[in-house]
Assembly symmetry: C2
Homo-oligomer: 299 residues x 2
């Protein structure tokens, strides 16, 4: 592709970590800093910030202007992981190769750390963006904050998680339900990630529509690959325990379609995502590289 | 006072409940509606919406314009109660005379219901206000959303709760720590409640300053009275189990100062709150009545 995603992500990783550390240090009282700052984002692959930056820069915006929104998305993502890992939910001990938040700080602090990160995401998206980009039309930022809320609540990741939990161990989960789960649980937030940089930069409706299609395709592909890796990956590769889905009798794409068909569908979705952005030429290459990365990743 | 707070709250209660039910029904997918809609606000005293409405109307705004923000505050308040009641936190079975959310729906759903309410509060504050009051300057709404986030995260109720939990059973908790806990745990959100109507209506800095002082005084008084009621109230009066603070070896004002001094300080704070608003004459009477209500309540 002529554009090295892995090298880019590696270079930018420290920048994102530093921005998140700064944001958290400012926001959280010293006395309750630690459970919030156990950074699930350490070792994360910076895909969310990447999604925010690229469309922003594409429209003449800068990474700096979009950084606060990118950090906010990482905070929301982190809170969802902290709460999902709780004993009452997925009961996971490992996340990205490290002990989960509640294993280190206890359940009460993990619940509170998630709540704080969720609320602070909104404050930081607003105040951080206004600080870096004071001339932004306030209505654009309102749109980002409102869509972020929608992508988390009943129409977003929590809605998907609720249906996911309710479907565990059910013998008759349909493909429709599985799609509902994933478009909500992971798709909604990814859509905001891909679009919020465009919103901050004031992108056209056309571009937003293309980005929405792209986000839907890579989101579903991401989930299919996730399900495949849970079956075929090792704890070392994944940085988390594999086989959790089967143990919890969760409905997954490989269970529904088999491994080969699942992989073929993931490949087809990635091809679709890339085709949608093809008319945008070279400017779209980084997002094309991200699509390839999602389907070829090993963790 | 010539203004009957109890009658007013009773009349408006149904209106608030109906607005919240409408907001939730729109927001939450049918399949995951129920744990979010177990309404901790049923039977609540509508103080938060009241605080939002009054200053709004005072500045020429209407209750209708401020309703979405009032509902958002009730959602945040409700989420904090649902999460506080969890076994890993205060482990409460009763709340306002009803079984707590996790007793009915289980812990996982209670965690998710709280997360959904928290995120949706931001979406609804923005979208609901824009629908009812399209001509509001967007910067005012950004301020409301940003301050709401701040009042929940590390500088707000979660920060207070973290220090509260960390102080349980400690023999050497100081008055300073107790004040930190309460100004954060309950004071921050109350300040947003009292001020957000004023922000929506574009109130002057002077009025905002007076409202801020008023909120700080009634917030602390509210907490002192809460501690007193936990010692002296019955489960029937309170609608929740009394004596939880003592059982959890929590530091409280009566433990620090004794019952009589605590009551006297609460009375003094209420007098202070009323004095701050005295210059505003008759328009301030409803908030004066609220101050009296807080110190004389039995639950």
């Amino acid at each position: 592709m002529g554009w090295d995603l892995a090298a880019y992500l590696k270079t930018r990783q420290q920048e994102v970590d530093a921005a998140l550390d700064r944001a958290i240090a400012v926001a959280i009282q010293k006395r309750c800093l630690r459970p919030c700052a156990i950074p699930c984002w350490w070792g994360a692959n910076a895909c969310d910030p990447f999604c925010v930056w690229r469309p922003a820069s594409w429209r003449g915006g800068s990474d700096r202007e979009a950084m606060a929104v990118a950090c906010a998305l990482e905070m929301v993502h982190t809170m969802s992981l902290i709460h999902d890992d709780l004993p009452a939910m997925d009961n996971d001990d490992l996340r990205r190769g490290k002990p989960t938040n509640h294993k280190v700080y206890g359940e009460a602090m993990a619940i509170l750390a998630g709540d704080a990160l969720l609320a602070y995401a909104f404050e930081h998206a607003i105040e951080g963006t206004l600080a870096a980009y004071p001339e932004i039309p306030p209505a654009r930022l309102l749109q980002v904050a409102s869509r972020l809320g929608r992508a988390i609540a009943g129409h977003g990741l929590v809605g998907g998680q609720v249906v996911d939990l309710a479907s565990e161990g059910q013998p008759d989960v349909t493909e429709e339900t599985l799609e509902f789960i994933h478009t909500h649980k992971t798709g909604a937030l990814l859509e905001v990630a891909v679009l919020s940089g465009a919103w901050v930069a004031g992108a056209s409706e056309d571009l937003c529509g293309a980005l929405r299609q792209y986000a839907a395709a890579i989101g579903l592909a991401f989930q299919i690959v996730d399900d495949i890796l849970d079956l075929t990956g090792t704890a070392e590769e994944l940085g988390k325990s594999p086989g959790k889905d089967a143990a919890a009798q969760k409905i997954t794409y490989p269970r529904l379609w088999g491994l080969e068909v699942s992989q073929a569908k993931a490949n087809a979705l990635i091809a679709e995502a890339k085709a949608v952005l093809a008319p945008y030429g070279e400017a779209a290459q980084p997002l094309q590289a991200l699509a390839d990365f999602i389907v070829h990743r090993k963790s």
